[in-house]
Assembly symmetry: C2
Homo-oligomer: 325 residues x 2
Amino acid sequence: MPSPLDHDTLASIGEGAVLLRIFPRLPRAASGLLGPGDDAAVISAPDGRFVVTTDMMIHGPDFRLAWSTPHDLGWKAAASNLSDIAAMGAVPTALVVAIAAPADSPVSLLEGIADGLRDACAALAPGCGVVGGDLSVSPTLTIAVTAFGDLEGRAPVLRSGARLGDIVAVAGVLGEAAAALSVLFTEAVDPLGRPDARLAAALRARTAAQLAPTPPIAAGRVAALAGATAMLDLSDGLAIDSARLARASGVGIDFTLASLGADPARALGGGEDHALLATFPAGAQLPQPFRRIGICVAGEGLTVDGEPHDSAGWDPYRDWAGSAG
Amino acid sequence: MPSPLDHDTLASIGEGAVLLRIFPRLPRAASGLLGPGDDAAVISAPDGRFVVTTDMMIHGPDFRLAWSTPHDLGWKAAASNLSDIAAMGAVPTALVVAIAAPADSPVSLLEGIADGLRDACAALAPGCGVVGGDLSVSPTLTIAVTAFGDLEGRAPVLRSGARLGDIVAVAGVLGEAAAALSVLFTEAVDPLGRPDARLAAALRARTAAQLAPTPPIAAGRVAALAGATAMLDLSDGLAIDSARLARASGVGIDFTLASLGADPARALGGGEDHALLATFPAGAQLPQPFRRIGICVAGEGLTVDGEPHDSAGWDPYRDWAGSAG
């Protein structure tokens, strides 16, 4: 039997009461000098700099409530932002989280998001926590996370630092998020093609890479310490993102077909893996968990075993219509 | 005649092309060590700490497109966040801005928001700029700003530091944003009560305090240097927000009726002024532009000339329905 609390909504109990129920669930940040409760938070930046990135998740273009649990939403919002911090070679320190939800949303939606934020921080970036946020009413459920990181005195690892002859390596999975999305679109829908929660739940093992990805956050710092010359987060797919790194660095990239797994097209084209792509000097010993997938070559653009490859990947404007579900 | 560019939308030209048109319009941050273009930005934090706040503006609950120009939206999104930084006694250094807009939004909407962000930073917090952001598609136009500030080695000014006998002072206007909102709701609507752009444009002089507020951002640092014991940003109205400061500090506040202007009820109840409320030690010389409006007294809650006053003010859940306009 659902408890009476399950009937509480954002509108029925009000912002203040919702925040009181959410705050205790949020992870504390070791770097937080002053947490939620004042007009702003204060965060430690030991080396006199901080890394910052921001990213929104929108109901419709970015997720469907029939497929993602509230916990998934919090987890993914944290994971995708943590990955951008890791891609600079930094250690994530803190998040601020702004959530806008329909007034009739159950408070349990917000509690689930808070739990997902907490569990993602604990699993992927221990010590990182939520230091502040904002709660608003909107017809469209929206989660905006801003993440911070500490470079520990090092230079940031940019996209533009790869040099001719550098090893191209990756940490994390390739194509699994796209494969999971394909499972959702083909098997977790009713006969009219609408997202179906019951079907999605039964497919969980094959869809987790899309709904609650586990990017290798600690590998960002590891790569920086091992002398990575360039790095970025694979959010739009290996082909699109590696072409960005190549263009910024003024090199081409040749991938080794045999290193791209059982489905190289999916590995190259699939988005949202949040793996880390990094380059290392020729002859470098690759640090765990990086594996070699190619090399920086003269020229521009991408090749696979020397054959030209078109850079096309995940485009949220093209691939995922904004209808709700 | 509209130029062909006016027909461009977010969907028709794509995220990359939109960003190329927006980036040159955004203000640069003097504190930005690495700006937009990589996975994350790097910002200077000279004293080894940074102040951070985040706030969303949502179409419907927070603004109407018939009343606010795109420039207003960018301006207000910056101003309201800068005010939270100022309320800590900090100097605003940088913003990151995530915008979600319908796919059929004209690019000029985003350009106007960028111009408003730039002009607000230049006018209210020179040196502060936009170091990063995110652009998404959403059925609901949403602007999420995260702002950063530098405490310049000082302790943050909290809500909880006011002491018995402290002077209560304010910098900025009281009640003008609420008065302007009332003008919009009563005079800038058609006979059916729907927001009307033509009527709103003609009322601009009387509505600017709501649509494009000019909070006294520099006064935050001034108050901290002058020894302010507590401070906060007046976003929900003087009554609600001063009651928060009083509660956090364990004091009561007695306001002087004569200091609350021609319409004391409006000064106490109206929200969104983004004035700064601060307390200073008894006998302190108040720094410009602060003016005395009351004193910290024994007990709890608010009084006006010694008479009890109910703390009720702006409640976005109650006062402004979420229908679009």
